[in-house]
Chain length 123, copies 2
Amino acid sequence: MVIEIDFNSDEAIYVQLMNQIILGIATSRLQEGDTLPSVRQMADTIGINMHTVNKAYTLLKQEGFVSIDRRRGAIVAIDVDKIKTLEEMKENLVVALAKGCCKKVSRSEVHQLIDEIFDEYDL
Amino acid sequence: MVIEIDFNSDEAIYVQLMNQIILGIATSRLQEGDTLPSVRQMADTIGINMHTVNKAYTLLKQEGFVSIDRRRGAIVAIDVDKIKTLEEMKENLVVALAKGCCKKVSRSEVHQLIDEIFDEYDL
DNA sequence: CATTGTGTTACACATATACTAGCACATCTC
DNA sequence: GAGATGTGCTAGTATATGTGTAACACAATG
């Protein structure tokens, strides 16, 4: 899986890396059981420091997207905690939707946007 | 309108302040034409620095939620740019939905969550 | 047993951001 | 004129981010 980092972005590199891996899983380019490159390998490929990759991997582990095995590296392994996930999603969405609501975006327009994004996942 | 800041939060104070004002507008506690307290007054009330409030106000102005008049202070004034708003929302939602998608949250569960949030706005 | 590759940890350093603090200025209200 | 306002400036502290080097413990392989 190809990782692309925008060094001019205002988003931290480790966050970009996390997001790309999460998107990879959502779009099935990464599947449960797949292994990620080692921290050193990934760092070399992208051209960043090992610690930055390690930070991304560690956080992905904490959030339940991968598990880390000393022998095989990081393995895609989803830890489904739906209640917690829905709570976190809601916190995120409340502000995002409030911004749209202020700008006169209707409820149906949001539903349409959701469908649009989901359709892109189900490639 | 009462502003509450969590000083132990990992979110910056000026971001919390912005979000609360945006939520205030979305829930109609703040309406178009209402004035916000002056930067010094708001800073005193919350117990933070004037410049932190000024940063929040300036960003809210840039994002089109208020306009600033030297005579009257910050006034709630929505600048509706729907295309831009939808683009920004999509960028935000793509990652948020990907996380849910990984954790087996279904499309209908997301739609339900959206309705839930919108119902809270229409108080 | 020696080598290699792995995740992990520790320390040091540079840079950027967040927040606070104080000062000055032009403008507006009273 | 007196007071309040938004704005600009400098400066300091604290934290976050990214890099660099090194060392450790473990597993696989020769």
